[in-house]
Symmetry: C2
Amino acid sequence: MTSRLDITILVTTVVMTLKQISTRFSIAVHTLSLIAVSPNDCTGDFIAGSVNTNPVVIRRIMGMLKKAGLVDVRPGVGGATLLKDLDRITLLDVYRAVNVTEENQLFRIHENPNINCPVGRNIEQVLQAELKDAQSAMEQRLAGTTLDQLISKFE
Amino acid sequence: MTSRLDITILVTTVVMTLKQISTRFSIAVHTLSLIAVSPNDCTGDFIAGSVNTNPVVIRRIMGMLKKAGLVDVRPGVGGATLLKDLDRITLLDVYRAVNVTEENQLFRIHENPNINCPVGRNIEQVLQAELKDAQSAMEQRLAGTTLDQLISKFE
DNA sequence: CTAAGTTGTAACTAATATTGTTATAACTAA
DNA sequence: TTAGTTATAACAATATTAGTTACAACTTAG
């Protein structure tokens, strides 16, 4: 006669990470702060050395800041200058400069719900309004801080 | 004698799209609303039909809502029930249930800046505080709406 | 007890975003 | 003319999302 007991214990840990807002934003803030603090010789290489990344990453972000009218970058000679006063540049300005999204929508809503269902028929419009407000609350907080204020907190 | 004129016009359009917050969130809101409105026969297939997606997508999200203590899902028999009253479930509860991130940080900040630079030395701490506030403003807005309020806006 | 329907979940794919990298053309001033 | 720089294309590695198929485990009706 044989007797047998099998016990299997399986522990599975699933780590999911939400895609967060790109470091482009924080790098852009870093870059603008550096241009403000060290107006001379702010080349892509110099900034990359402070941010600790590749110069091309900086130049890509500089291109966005340039397109947003925040900086002037001089090809050839190098270096960048701010086109607006520090107390006229808010974190929201920078956020918008580097987060090029269609419609600037932070939240996505699933598409084509079933309109034969009372929930499917209404969810998009009702939820859209709520999420717009939530995004707006975040952005208004960003708009409340200027680079001037930010830099004044450096030690 | 040859005369030659070359004109090249190159127009490049670069469309960048920021990764937005996953549709998991809106699908989860949809799902919970549906369970509230149609408490009977709310199986994964039924919900998927209303959301217009694959049932596995729904079951994955249901698993997260279950883990967050918002719903009870019965294996085998099927169907889900809400574990909290509609006026006690906020959009923030749902958001947190499906956006499993380390530290729940919406914003990322670039790592290892150069500490020999006054900007690199300070940027992380100073910016972190600002972004935390901005994220908090968004979340508090989400916390201000319950599923009860949301559903009452359906026509 | 069996059959039908369901949940739970693994595994895979396609599409897309991010970040870093190399390479090269074009530009500017000494 | 030369050295240093910006602008940008191209590519790789990595990661997330959303959809899909497949299958084991579960529950209840009959």
